[in-house]
Symmetry: C2
Subunit: 499 residues, 2 copies
């Protein structure tokens, strides 16, 4: 029987090497490729993806996986690899070649159209492409098959084994509890403190962030930090995890918190056991659990009082003229300052999830045939007003602000809030089990927390469905309460409110 594992191994390696190459081409495209190279790069990427798709859908691979699924002699890693790859193979096999190709083509056209539409704040430029994309994603969902409703199939691509109904229940609860809380907090927040929008030299910000990621134990011998307009983290290959960030002279905390966020993703990737790399279990499938790591480091650690106390003196050293007069309380109040923003990526701990939940509602309406693409801008504005309490002045700052839908990433947004909810629950559990995390963080010591996350999340994360992994750690299904408690406590203390 073990001969079959030997048959599978070179196929897995080949798929892994193709994915690794595709990831590097993508990283380079977003970080340093000359703009004139974009056409050639897109073509090269399409070729690699098509080769990878051929390999993944090879019927011979299916046969080997079927045999191995019934093989009781496999060890745990092997069995998990077979399970994960079988899922990928079956999903890839179900979608007709034509749909795969048309989605890829539409991605290119729609992304281009989105760029233009956003620049001229004109939804009609994107509309026909987005209509085509939604229609193709419906076809894809139906080809993949679903349990209760079509959206299940979309969600499953980013959050395996999670159902729309699970998310709907959670998000309804989240909105009901978060909205009144947010209203009270926002009323009390007051003006933005001046130090937040002072000018901070970008080179010095860069130096600081390169120092900070080492404090957070990102292994710079096995990775890099670079700059890109849309920050992201990617596991190029074994020993090579790359994160990016962005800096704005007038928004120092964006660079710092953004870097901490990506470091959370990157620590997760660097925590995947070495023996998994090159196997299907070496690649992450639950974006929600991935986001839980970035959100935990950004929110619970980065915007937490203890770690802001640790950071302040180091920032003062580099930016004396902007920060020397600031005391730790004032710094902390600035870091956690919330506001109603039209733009999701400029929002904060309090309002961020309200941006996500209404995107989920809109996606759901699209895929339940309750909303047409042409009506999206109005639906967006209404939802924004209802959830966040402000109305976009134009579509560029409204429905056109995110690229996700143009590239067909439908079913993706919910994972941002799932990550937030898991982050709060995981941090609370870690603190319960370890005790004294605040004292650690006040000294900039993150080792105990990281070790705990390595053991509880990074190691097992890719071998079982995220829901199971998290539940095993939390001892209960995911709930919104740890996050709501976190927001309530944080702002009750900061604003001396009785929330």
């Amino acid at each position: 029987m073990s001969a079959n594992w030997a048959d599978l191994l070179p196929r897995m390696k080949e798929l892994s090497h193709l994915s690794s190459s595709i990831r590097l081409l993508g990283w380079d495209q977003h970080v340093l490729m000359p703009a004139a190279g974009s056409g050639g790069r897109a073509a090269a990427l399409a070729t690699l993806q098509s080769i990878a798709h051929d390999r993944l859908t090879d019927p011979k691979l299916g046969e080997i996986l079927n045999k191995l699924s019934a093989d009781g002699s496999l060890d745990e890693t092997q069995a998990a690899s077979v399970r994960v790859l079988k899922r990928d193979h079956e999903k890839a096999t179900k979608v007709p070649e034509r749909v795969v190709r048309e989605i890829a083509e539409t991605q290119g056209l729609a992304f281009q159209a989105w760029t233009e539409a956003r620049a001229s704040s004109d939804f009609s430029i994107l509309e026909p492409h987005l209509e085509r994309m939604v229609s193709l994603k419906k076809e894809e969902a139906d080809a993949l098959g679903w349990k209760n409703e079509r959206y299940d199939a979309l969600l499953d691509q980013y959050e395996p084994e999670m159902l729309t109904s699970d998310v709907e229940t959670l998000f309804t609860d989240l909105v009901n509890k978060l909205k009144p809380l947010a209203e009270q907090i926002l009323q009390r927040a007051g003006e933005r403190p001046e130090w937040l929008t002072d000018a901070y030299d970008v080179n010095k910000q860069t130096d600081y962030c390169h120092w900070l990621i080492q404090i957070l134990k990102f292994d710079t011998m096995r990775g890099r930090l670079d700059v890109s307009p849309h920050p992201f983290t990617i596991h190029v290959g074994p020993g090579d995890v790359r994160q990016t960030t962005r800096y704005d002279e007038r928004n120092v905390m964006m660079g710092i918190l953004g870097t901490i966020h990506e470091t959370g993703h990157a620590l997760y990737e660097q925590g995947i056991p070495e023996e998994y790399l090159g196997l299907p279990v070496g690649e992450t499938r639950s974006l929600g659990l991935h986001e839980s790591q970035s959100r935990l480091w950004e929110m619970q650690v980065g915007t937490g009082k203890p770690f802001t106390e640790f950071q302040l003196p180091h920032l003062k050293e580099r930016f004396p003229s902007q920060l020397s007069g600031l005391d730790p309380d004032a710094f902390y109040l600035g870091v956690i300052h919330p506001r109603r923003s039209l733009i999701r990526v400029n929002s904060d701990v309090v309002t961020y999830n309200l941006h996500i939940t209404f995107r989920f509602e809109l996606e759901l309406a699209l895929f339940r045939d309750e909303l047409e693409v042409k009506d999206l801008p109005d639906a967006w504005d209404a939802a924004m007003e209802k959830h966040v309490g402000i109305r976009p002045d134009d579509v560029a700052n409204g429905v056109l602000q995110d690229m996700h839908w143009s590239i067909g990433a439908l079913g993706y947004f919910p994972t941002y809030s799932l990550g937030t909810l898991w982050a709060a629950a995981l941090y609370r559990t870690a603190d319960d089990e370890l005790g004294g995390l605040s004292d650690d963080l006040r000294k900039g010591e993150t080792g105990r927390l990281l070790d705990w996350l390595r053991e509880k999340i990074h190691k097992p994360a890719n071998t079982r469905p995220a829901k199971e992994v998290a539940q095993a750690v939390l001892g209960a299904p995911l709930s919104v309460d740890p996050f709501i408690d976190y927001v309530r406590t944080k702002y009750s203390e900061a604003y001396e409110l009785d929330l």
Copy 2:
């Protein structure tokens, strides 16, 4: 019949996309990959190379190419593409899979061994791997087939359609004429001027070189300049030509001349007609002709009196404390200062080719079974003494200085000198045809020269054998005389000698 071209097109595109991906993986590996990623990267590269090899040796491709070779209706670009790809296909098909695989494996092991051997100056660490490599390359040469002798097959991989006997005749003539000339020049050269080894801030050197490549009309919208330990230039894909350089605080001219050298390669790549990209004629095969471009810009332009006069004021602006007292003559004499160096890459216009010619003699002796790998260190030292006039103090500075042999690049070295010879001949022809190039260069104007090279070399270079392309421009077969005249005139004038 045109249906067959349509059959060929997607196969050529796929091969081109695979090559482009392989080149990007290689670029990244040498420029910014974290060292810990090397194992994974080597594996991913091997997979892509193996897929490309499968595609290239596909018998179906051979059938299509055979049909198209007999198709008189193809246009010039199509016919050249078929000719070039047919050659590649046939060569790839001739070498047994086992030999391909074993060479790839030995490359990895031997390169690793070379690194260690050089660090500890111990040839015995490399010896068994190099023996294996030479034996495999003999097998490969015999599988490829050759005309007069085995080395023909090796040379043909880097300099298509060039014969060992052509090179031997040229190099014998070159050594006979260059050696006595070099002796006279070296005797007169005197001490190295101090400004050459002053400290020059590396950031300022970097700024200067980024400015300089734009003066030389490298299109930075369609390419990049980065840093790597071993400078190289690579055409990642359409609109994306990347060159690298290196800087040494104590050797400012190394960075500048090295950058000009790579810019020569890069201008060539940026000059390949756009309609060739993605086709076999979009990729360079003659390394000698490629090197002619880098050498022409480095030697004839970069170390030429007029361009040094142009550069000096710009360098003084950036490095006043090191250069403000220097007059143009003293600067020029420093730039062209020759010396007997143990290390090829630290040598100069006068001695460089003597380093190359003896490497060619050693390679030839190995492949004529007149020299064994174990005897290479002694043979090296003797040849170095005979040609360059100094004897290495250890093998690290002797036979172990270059990585080429360890990675199986046997037959490669001659292209460096072929490039030098072509460069001198081409520049002389350009100056004859255009007139007044010195006046242009004194003003930093390189446009007329570049346009001429674009038209005469860059455009046709990949569609015909290099020998033919060059001969059409030069009106005569390659000879050593333009280069010898160049050295004689340059140093006669500079040193007021009657050479």
